[in-house]
Amino acid sequence: MSTAAETHDDHHDGHQDPYHLAHHFDTPQQQFDAGKLGIWLFLTTEILLFSGLFCAYAVYRANHPEVFEFAHLYLNKPLGAINTVVLLFSSLTMAWGVRAAQLGQKNLLVGLLALTILCGFGFLGIKFVEYRVKFQNGELWGPHYNPKEMPGAAKDEDDRAKEDRQREAERKKHEEAITVAALTNTVATAPAGYHYDQSKYAPASSDNVDFASISPEWVRQQGSDTKPPGSIAETWHGDPPVNAQLFFSIYFVMTGLHGLHVIAGMICIAWILIRATKGEFGPHYFNPVDFVGLYWHIVDLIWIFLFPLLYLIT
């Protein structure tokens, strides 16, 4: 016991002092706890940073749920799910890496850190594929929102279903054109100030409609503009909502900022990896591995919430 006391008390004299213990700390334990407290404080600021974006999301979704229900159909759900699994797996390898560092298993640590970085590249690669499709199809933020097609048309559908939908749309358009023609023959002038979507609202806004001219077909079409109840539509029926670009503004800011965090995490892990190859970590000093791991997990944590909020809207 006396030798133990000496080893711990004499570290200012040098020879027993672990080289990684900064001189302003008394013990490795104090250094570790202080570092951990610091990284947790940093992580709270990260959460608060993202909470601003989650707040924007909540406010816009509460006010314009139709925009989210419509625009999320442009997202590729399988790719999002795969990315979730990739990130969860990288969290496992990172947590295991911390264990390996604690146990001084150098080769295992190096391998696990390399695997974690690889998962980071995988995540970014899949994200890149998703972004590229959105840039190609004009599914972008604000004034750049100019989608080429209705959601669901480019994915998860075989060509037959696509053709069916096009045929249905053409048929509907044709019938509406006929109905509008019939109505405009009956109603001489549209009411003052009336300038929206005649085919949809003409009958209700006029006193002089010859109701006999409204075909049952037309009435049926109006009813089908809403989603059939009791099922989750993977395609959109009816007109797209206005201001759908709101969704993509939020989507790109949230996933973009998250992507930057993934890149930052990968850089930090690469730094840890280099130090690990030099054998700097062991049972008495693994603080950087643990702290970088915590950062990587918080990135994973944020994705755990982003994924259902952006991809799994119903």
């Binding site: 407290l37 909540a58 314009h64 139709e66 496992l92 264990r99 604690q102 609202y201 049972p283 799994l312």
Partner: protein
């Protein structure tokens, strides 16, 4: 205090006391649970729970997040002060978002019909001066 042969041999850090070492079984088990919950949350998005879909998705996300925090991030075994810091951060997030949400439907009167829920389409054609473009 343990024998100080521990100082020279590569023993687990728990003996040294720096931090708890996570058993591989728990790590892999937590990962399996996270994958299972991911499958459940994706599957539930194809079902219709009416207004509860968001609630279900968020509950699953909270369970997944707790698993990551407690085991991958060691909060379960850590100094409780770290947990306290984390929880107070979440409390402020809840405060922030819930206060921001209190006036959610306040401005519907100035929103053109059809652009927001609960604003009747009858306001079409007589767009109020305050309407958004």
């Amino acid at each position: 205090m343990s024998d100080h042969a521990a100082e020279s041999s590569p023993t687990p850090a728990e003996e040294h006391g720096l931090a708890h070492v996570m058993p591989v079984k728990i790590l892999v088990g937590v990962f399996a649970a996270l994958i299972a919950l991911t499958v459940i949350t994706v599957g539930s998005s194809y079902l219709d729970f009416g207004p509860y879909n968001l609630l279900v998705a968020m509950i699953i996300a909270f369970v997944k997040g707790s698993l990551v925090c407690m085991f991958f991030m060691h909060l379960w075994y850590d100094s409780k002060f770290n947990l306290f810091i984390f929880m107070s951060c979440l409390a402020f997030v809840v405060l922030f978002i819930s206060l921001a949400m209190t006036d959610t439907h306040q401005y519907h009167n100035s929103v053109r019909g059809g652009q927001a829920p609960n604003v009747p389409a009858a306001t079409y054609g007589e767009a109020p001066p305050a309407a958004k473009p």
